[in-house]
């Protein structure tokens, strides 16, 4: 859920004017926000599955340190979505294990 108004930060400045695709599903995104933010705002919490047991992983440290948030973005695997801003038309896939680099 997006925080539209805030007692200290004021009203949200950006509007969700662009779209990104997550596993084929189009979701709105605010230009400049991190990929993980657009996903969480859309209620998507599972970002990838571990290569061993296929367990769900998602947003954890928020600053690019832990790699739990990695997804495959525009065919590039293991992109840390918490420090990567969205781009209009970006194609994001829930990553399975180490992902695959589709050249």
């Amino acid at each position: 859920m997006r925080i539209e108004d805030h007692p200290i930060l004021g009203p949200a400045k950006g509007e969700a004017t662009i779209e990104i695709e997550v596993d084929g599903r189009k979701i709105p995104a605010v230009p400049g926000e991190m990929i993980s933010s657009a996903l969480i705002a859309a209620g998507i919490k599972v970002f990838r599955r571990t290569h061993g047991k296929g367990e769900a992983r998602g947003y954890f440290c928020g600053i690019g340190q832990c790699t739990d948030c990695m997804m495959t973005v525009d065919n590039m695997p293991s992109i840390r979505t918490c420090i990567t801003p969205v781009k209009d038309g970006m194609k994001i896939k829930t990553q399975s294990g180490h992902g695959k680099w589709e050249v």
Binding site: L9, R57, F60
Partner: protein
């Protein structure tokens, strides 16, 4: 190869002040930051700062940050955001990468202001999406304007846990409880009072036993602990939550200092392994300085002063300011920082800092 006089790694409170003071003295200054926006923790501190007027008390962290950003631009500091320093060579060459491209940077002086990372706390179910660092939740709500969930369990009642719990309320979430395994609240009484009167229960001598949910957090089992940190059977409670924030301490982020072969020491009161440095914030590697949380976990106010001290010392050794001027500026910074290192909360950190200085002295002349 790129060159600069002073390279500051990290644009949080320590790095920002370091870059400002270095640039003011006339040093060619580069400010490198991994995150796309500068500010580090400052841009997440939406509350009014403590301390005294000289420490910018009463001003919100975000507003202090805004002023510093303006100064950085006015001083024409070379800003490299979304740029990671991936290694350090021979003590003065940095490998930096931006947008998939890497470059080498030779700096005469390097100030590491790389901050800290949140400690993990493993319990069954901790890997479920919905379990995150308290700082991670803070980044999400204050920088990204997105709620992590609706019903939050906060684990840890130090200042980070208490402040983030309050900020979650301000953002519109419900904080179901704040836990701490200690038998007392570690954070300031004013922070705990603020959330207590907002209806958030604080349960000391409690911890989280398990998080459950199919693909993400749907609930948590909390339990009382005894004086030996053992879980007390029969005291379990089920909480309906979709988010669990972990606020169990910070650890300095010091990979670059390790890579540069700085000498370290172990200081629990300051978060663990800390590089050795002197009162000029210079490590055992000549020309390499540290400041802020990476030099020991404290707060934004002390980080800013340490950033200044490191920059003053760096430009002094570059000959850009006189020894006397450097001495006077450092003394003033230490006067200000002193007030944060006294009293029941500050004493331990003061002892920790002095221990580091004493350990560093053992390397004098041997480096």
């Amino acid at each position: 190869m790129l060159t600069t006089d002073v390279a500051v790694v990290g644009a949080g409170p320590a790095g920002l002040l370091a870059a400002v003071d270095a640039a003011k003295a006339g040093a060619k200054t580069m400010l490198i930051n991994e995150y796309i926006e500068p500010g580090g923790q400052l841009t997440k501190q939406i509350h009014k700062f403590f301390g005294s007027e000289e420490h910018k008390a009463g001003i919100r962290g975000i507003d202090i940050a805004a002023k510093l950003f303006k100064e950085i631009d006015e001083l024409k500091v070379d800003k490299r955001m979304a740029t990671v320093v991936w290694s350090i060579f021979h003590s003065n060459i940095l490998g930096i990468a931006h947008d998939g491209k890497s470059e080498m940077l030779r700096a005469h002086k390097i100030i590491l202001a790389t901050g800290a990372s949140e400690n993990a706390f493993a319990f069954p179910g901790w890997t479920l999406p919905g379990v995150m660092g308290a700082g991670a939740a803070q980044t999400l709500i204050n920088l990204q304007r997105v709620l992590p969930g609706q019903r939050v369990l906060m684990v840890g009642a130090g200042n980070v846990g208490l402040i983030v719990a309050y900020q979650l309320l301000q953002a519109g979430a419900e904080v179901v409880a704040v836990l701490d395994a200690l038998p007392y609240i570690g954070g300031y009484s004013v922070h705990s009072a603020k959330i207590a009167r907002d209806g958030v229960p604080i349960w000391t001598s409690h911890t989280v036993k398990k998080a459950h949910g199919r693909e993400s957090v749907e609930g948590a089992t909390v339990v009382k602990v005894d004086k030996q940190w053992e879980l007390i059977p029969g005291t379990e409670r089920e909480l309906e939550v979709d988010t669990i924030c972990i606020a169990v301490g910070l650890t300095p982020l010091t990979e670059l200092a390790w890579l540069a072969k700085c000498k370290f020491t172990w200081v629990p009161a300051l978060g663990g392994y800390v590089p050795l440095y002197d009162d000029k914030m210079e490590t055992t590697v000549k020309g390499l300085y540290v400041a802020g949380d990476c030099a020991g976990i404290e707060e934004a106010s002390t980080a800013m002063e340490e950033g200044r001290i490191a920059a003053i010392s760096a430009v002094e050794s570059l000959g850009l300011i006189t020894q006397q001027r450097a001495y006077a500026l450092r003394a003033a910074a230490y006067e200000r920082v002193k007030e944060f290192r006294i009293g029941p909360f500050g004493e331990m950190r003061d002892q920790g800092k002095r221990f580091i200085w004493r350990e560093r002295e053992k390397y004098e002349g041997r480096v």
